[in-house]
Amino acid sequence: MIALASLRERRRSLLGTLITLAVAVAVLTICGLLLVSARPVTPDRYAASPVLIRPVPPSDPEAFTEPRPWPKEQAAALTARLAAVPGVSAAVPVHRFYAQLLRDGAPVTGEHEAYSWSSAVLGGYRLAAGRAPAAAGDVALGEDLGLPPGARVELLTAAGPQPFTVTGTVDGSGIWVGDPVSGTVGGPGSRAGDAVTAVSSARVGSGGAGGGVPVIGLLIGADADPAAVAVAVTGVVGAEGVVLTGDARGALEPVGDARTRWIGLQVLSALAALGTFVSVFIVASTFAFATRQRHRELGLLRLLGAVPRQVRGWVLGEVLLLGLLGGAIGVPAGLLAAGPVAGWLVRTGFEPASFTVLYQPVVPVAALAAGVLVALVGAWSAARRAARVGPLAALREAAVDDRPVSRVRLLAGAVALVGAVAVGVAATRASGADLGSYALYAAMLLVVAGSLLAPLLLPRAVRLLSAPFAGGRGATVLLVRQHVATAARRSASAAAPVLLCVAFTVLIGGMVQTTTAYYGLNRVTAVDAAAVVVPDGTPGLSDAAVAAAGGLSALPTTLYEGAEPLPAAGVTPAEHTVLTVVEGDLATLHRSPMGGSPETTSAAPPAVPVGPAGSGRTPPAGPLVPVAVAQGFAASAGWAVGGRHPVSGPDGQPITLEVVAVLAGGPLPAGILLDRAVVRAMDPSALTSVVYSDRPVPAAVLAGLGGRPLSAAAYAGSGQEEDDRLVWVFTALLIGVSAGFALLAVVNTMLMSTTGRAGDLRVLRLSGATRRQVLGLLAAETAAVVATGAALGLAVAVAALAALARGLSVQLGVAVPMVIPWGTLAATVGVCLVLAVAAATLPALGSRRAASPSAGV
């Protein structure tokens, strides 16, 4: 009854906590549902194959590169062995290359690759009309594209647009072409021609070997047991690959999907972590504030015989009730919102198109539990403090905090501060993606430290801020100074949400501006280009688009050291103008590979190193390819001019790199540079990401080529690049969540503050203060608290940003200036101030209007 009566009495101040908890539970429900839903999905094209084999993937799943494919000879041998396994009715090697349907000169997005027709059985696809593609220039298209057999179409390939004739349509989706000669064993297209090879080599000059094989799919007999087959197959495959069955086949999802899902994971977990942290923090500061305000009441109850355990029980019971109530509101809200939010994530690009929400019952239960836990953790110290209130508190005025900062609080604050410094130092050594999260953790710790130590700093800060006005004869400055000084801890609780709000908005805003300012700067200075050509509706630019744009570019590809990817790029002599040689000579970079081109060695037995990266025992194999390496890469990999390093090409074939030059740091497309034609020969699907041109490029020359020209300024300016856009949305989301929570708390604390001081204010009125003076006093006091909270928040953000800038500088070897987003700062402080002053003065105005004798000003 006591708890209920006091709940009723304080429902206004508790409403803020309730909303905070409800929103926190909703956010956790949404994030939880989406996190458990974010699983790799088996692509439809493999759905009918119960057992799939792929090469050993790189050890770092966050590299987001395809595993090194099998060279075609190795794939053929493996396919033959697999086909012989009892129960296997067919073993189908998959061949694919980059291809996009052009419709009215615009690339059709969605399908980015053409697959060998023989692999259609792995998805259970059949011809709906016409006949299977066989010869070069034949293509079968998914029915969904609506092009009938006989239609003449253009496919955009890595070489450029190519004419094709639709020979049939498929009862599914996709682009299907005839098989290479050495393709299938026992599959349905083994009679076919060599379209993949033909296409991939058609415009590339030398008779290309086609890409390696990324997947071999198995079909098994109706009477065979998939599990038994999988076991037998695992024995046959050995260390050459990985056998995937069931849901594990999701590993074959497109690399882009995996990357998108990873970004989504970052977004959702950051949101969940921030939401949890902020709500614990806010519940803690709200309850600390409320407990301090109830000092007398709690003392009275103690005086009347309540034991400390009872007092603690009330506070925790109250917060438990609030937590459950918040959960009861937040869980349904989260369940309802999860669907729309998932749709938004897919549209924004934080989740792949295959993403759907799985409504796992464990999530709402966990979110509810988390909400209750958040509430209890938040109120824990307040409950302990409430239980320590002695019965004498009822008899004494509680305005003066006798010990403004307890030793435990001081210690906890110091620990948080030290932790923040440690994380900040760690940030200077963190790698790219982790840098931002380190800065965020450091800021969280600083926020905690700041609010714990605020009672120590606040009176000093207010004294400092009000010093210029102290000479006056008015009572306001005196009252404000005295009030903040004597009620240091109470004022600190009121300033805490402001601190949080300012710290996070400024930090997150500054973080993005600091990093993008650097990268933007980098991009402009990289080449003083008149125009930049970027892909438009395609994952990259074809050779035809590059030729039409006529500028400098690089052709990115991936080499492999064992299973580990090595980013590399192909260049032409034209690009030498932007390269700075530190050691060696670029003259021999474009010398044709010695020991024959990769094609000529293709008949050799597959001597592909399967062991771990860097096993130097593998004898030099394949042709000798001259490369130039970036200084940073050379240093970390231990490569030097003259060194020879056996690796695998993007087609899985062995080659040996010979370092002919080391290049100065700065923006290089990759750590390893080699001749562009060699890249093209090894990687028929490689696409150029950007072309820098020293003359304006008219859009017309790129018509039908999937590219679009931009001015250098437009390119350097943020926003047009996909990653930039994602980062901005992500930032806005994080700022929105933390600021939203914090502003709620600001309003709540200020409302509570004024309501709780009705007695004080009445005394002021009785001692002759006019109503305007009292309101002015409230506003001034609130402004002082907001200003100090903002100053502390700014200090936190600047410290974290400094760590971030330092980390970036160390990482990139260039001085990165710290950017403080003054606009964001001003806006945040302004909003905090307006809301806080309104919340502080409105109850005073309101109670006056209500003519309540007990609470009026």
Partner: protein, 245 residues
């Protein structure tokens, strides 16, 4: 040593602060309060009256000396045990009425029982309110009651557990003479009808005259004891004490 005294203080010392700021609030006070006695404690402001009451009620720890209530020595008790003792054996009334604003008069009165997890009997609550003349105001909130009425609710609340002793610190301090008289009459009736032990701090000789005995404190020491006196004599004795001190 057994004693008939409900409350016994023996050589109680209490100081506040440390070093140069040390204030001796009680400098060795001994006193006994027997069952059914009504004692007033008087003295100049800052003489230690409130401190005496708070120490005797176990609200504050003493530096030295012994306090027993109903035969229980406070010194040996934990905070928890002291709270239970206070809940069951001690009633407390202050100058400020200290009612819980969210509760009605009846709920305020029943509060100590609820805190002790004893089901409050409606009849007992009405009875307690009736003893202070407020039976018909049971459903009213503190904001709807006058100062004197609130003080009488506080007395009813202090008595609901049938405590061994009722401590009152300036219970009439904020009241006019009419309301004071009602409150004092209520206290007197409790002493006479129920043999309630009452210890009351007051500055008002008229209030003190309602008591059987007046103890006078000066600078933390008992300096005088007056029995059966009227307001004028009490005032005169106090004035003399103040001159002597």
């Amino acid at each position: 040593m057994t004693s008939t005294a409900t409350v016994r203080l023996h050589a109680v010392r209490k100081t506040y602060g440390t070093g140069a700021n040390t204030v001796t609030a009680l400098g060795g006070v001994s006193a006994e309060f027997t069952r059914g006695s009504f004692t007033a404690v008087m003295g100049a402001s800052g003489s230690g009256k409130s401190t005496l009451l708070q120490c005797a009620a176990g609200l504050d720890a003493v530096d030295s000396g012994q306090i027993t209530i109903d035969g229980t020595d406070l010194a040996g008790l934990s905070e928890h045990a002291r709270t239970l003792l206070r809940r069951d054996r001690i009633g407390f009334v202050f100058q400020a009425y200290n009612l819980v604003g969210a509760l009605t008069a009846a709920q305020n009165t029943a509060l100590p029982l609820r805190l002790a997890r004893r089901a409050p009997q409606a009849a007992a609550v009405v009875q307690a309110l009736a003893e202070v003349g407020l039976a018909e105001r049971a459903g009213h909130y503190p904001a709807q009651l006058s100062g004197g009425e609130q003080q009488r609710v506080a007395i009813a609340r202090a008595l609901i557990t049938r405590p061994a002793v009722l401590f009152a610190d300036e219970p009439t301090g904020a009241l006019d003479s009419t309301s004071s008289a009602v409150v004092l009459a209520a206290l007197r009736r409790l002493v006479d009808a129920h043999l309630q032990t009452v210890v009351m701090v007051t500055h008002d000789p008229v209030a003190a005259a309602a008591a059987d005995r007046v103890l006078v404190l000066a600078d933390g020491r008992l300096v005088d004891e007056i029995t059966g006196a009227d307001p004028a004599r009490i005032a005169a004795r106090l004035a003399r004490g103040a001159v002597a001190a």
